[in-house]
């Protein structure tokens, strides 16, 4: 019996981590889908995480915790966008990575707000139904975005910014909205993460999580909102599955190899609407050929 309840405990936390990682991946995706490779979700998550943790410590209710985390994330994302949107895509990647490094230093040196090196304990475990609710709402929002004019504009912008501009798309506006959404979702994800770990420190939001977010997003596919969710689930579950087959020491190597294989054989990720459409088109085209022959 103990074994069974242990198993449930492990899996429950895996599911919870997959859900939080989905939030992070969606936050990364929305900027990526507007044409920018950016690591700044880590920064938004850090802001949301520390704001959320402080409020939980003060005994504020969950709706306000998430609201404040979203607001904090939004604020910092608009700041980042205002400063960084002048840069081209290559620079954005470098600059946002630098920002992740800077964020860690800043959080380390502001112990009054962040607990500094010792971090902050978060005296509230995130209820599963809250996490589920937040994720469902986020996914619904992404579904709505996908079918909105923002979705249309960002798909064109990502493939060909010049064409988008000549169509009348204000590139800066779309990118600013993308960053804002990324900030809100990243901030909420950060707060959820803090409550899930029940502890955060400057090292919580550092390079490891930055690369996890990007890898999960690309693994799942960055051409549809469903991709990041799938990617986050697979990326979270992968180490657990590996555990069953491989000695601990080889796990990291195996994770790398799996990621590598996916990049080589499924470069557009697991979820690729274009591939689905191409596959659907192929038999139809073959049929037409036959009729003509």
């Amino acid at each position: 019996m103990d074994y069974l309840s242990d198993l449930w405990a492990t899996n429950r936390s895996t599911v919870a981590f997959a859900m939080v990682n989905s939030l992070f991946a969606l936050s990364t995706y929305v900027v990526l889908a507007a044409g920018f490779l950016s690591f700044s979700t880590v920064v938004f998550a850090a802001v949301g995480g520390f704001v959320g943790a402080q409020l939980v410590v003060k005994g504020v209710g969950l709706p306000f915790v998430f609201g404040a985390a979203a607001g904090g994330g939004l604020l910092i994302s608009l700041l980042v966008a205002a400063v960084f949107l002048r840069l081209n895509s290559h620079w954005m990647a470098l600059a946002s990575l630098a920002l992740v490094l800077i964020t860690r230093v800043v959080t380390l040196n502001a112990p009054a707000l962040t607990g500094g090196v010792n971090g902050l304990g978060v005296p509230l475990a995130l209820p599963m139904d809250w996490l589920t609710g937040v994720l469902v709402l986020t996914v619904l929002a992404f579904y709505a975005l996908h079918h909105s004019w923002f979705g249309v504009a960002s798909r064109v912008l990502r493939e060909d910014p010049s064409v988008a501009a000549c169509m009348g798309v204000d590139l800066r506006q779309i990118q600013l909205i993308a960053f804002g959404i990324s900030g809100i979702v990243g901030g909420i994800g950060g707060a959820a993460y803090a409550m899930l770990l029940q502890f955060i420190s400057p090292d919580t939001f550092f390079l490891g999580i930055a690369f996890t977010m990007i890898a999960a997003t690309v693994l799942g596919g960055s051409y549809h909102w469903f991709g990041p969710v799938v990617g986050a689930v697979v990326y979270t579950a992968l180490p657990i599955v590996m555990q069953a087959f491989l000695p601990h020491l080889l796990q990291e190597v195996a994770n790398g190899v799996v990621l590598l294989l996916i990049m080589i054989f499924l470069p557009r990720g697991l979820i690729d609407p274009r591939a689905v459409r191409l596959r659907r088109a192929a038999p139809a085209a073959a049929g037409v050929m036959k009729i003509r022959a």
Binding site: H90, A93, A98, N109, I214, A215, L260
Partner: protein, 295 residues
Amino acid sequence: MELFASQLLNGLALGSLCGLFGIGFGLVFATLGILNAAQGCYASWAAIIGLAAAEKMGAPFPLIMLAGMGGAAAVAVAVDQLGFQPLRTRGADMLGALITSIAFWMILDSLAGFATGQQSLSFPSTSYPGQMLLTEPVPLPAMQLITIAVLVAVAVGMHLLMTRSSVGSAIRAVGWNPVAAALGGVNSRSIILLTAALSGAISGLAGTLGGVLTSNVSFTLGQGLLLKGFAAVVVGGYSDVRGTAIAGVILGILEVFVGQYISTALRDAFTYSLLLVFLLVKPQGLFGKGSLVRA
């Protein structure tokens, strides 16, 4: 005063390592468009291979350096051909290359962990020139001078190679537009191999020197160099070797002095604040020529 001078030397030597590593890192970024997270592993592996050459074969110092460089170049070429080449043939963007490099980072770092038994190793004191060149007025360890000299030599050499030689213009041409370069008679495959090897060798040189200088041969060596080298590339401007070298040295000196005279805790804060200031005020770096925007 003596402390000041010797700390200055320390900073110069550490900064030279960052600059040197950054030149290798910036080379693939500027020409092949790859933000290579695995670059730090090249440095770690160079140090491990150099250490093996020293311990197993008793190789003399220059050979240790060559072994480290050669090993890192081989790893870099292998990573490029296994990981990046399939993406290139498919015309994938830099995102794919970044993820691939993260995968290699995970693989190479854990393998490096095995190789050193999860410890930090150091070079035997007989394997490198450990003597002081001077003791008065300032103690001057030979290794520090060698490191600084290597940075100067590599920076000058790479700058001349990139701006004055036909190989350099071929590298830039392939980076800018491989199809046009091929039409112009450049064999882009061999230029890409050369660029990867060169970048690996330079970062490997930084790794081997760093392994000796800091007595730390482990995967953390490469991670440290990656962060500092990255800062040097951003501050210096990624398309210019001189900028990276100078920025690396400045960052090294700044770090040592902040650590010595202000506080160790604030050391990184200074480095990254400088990074932020440069990103905001001069995002194209010390010698950058503005951002590249195409119609």
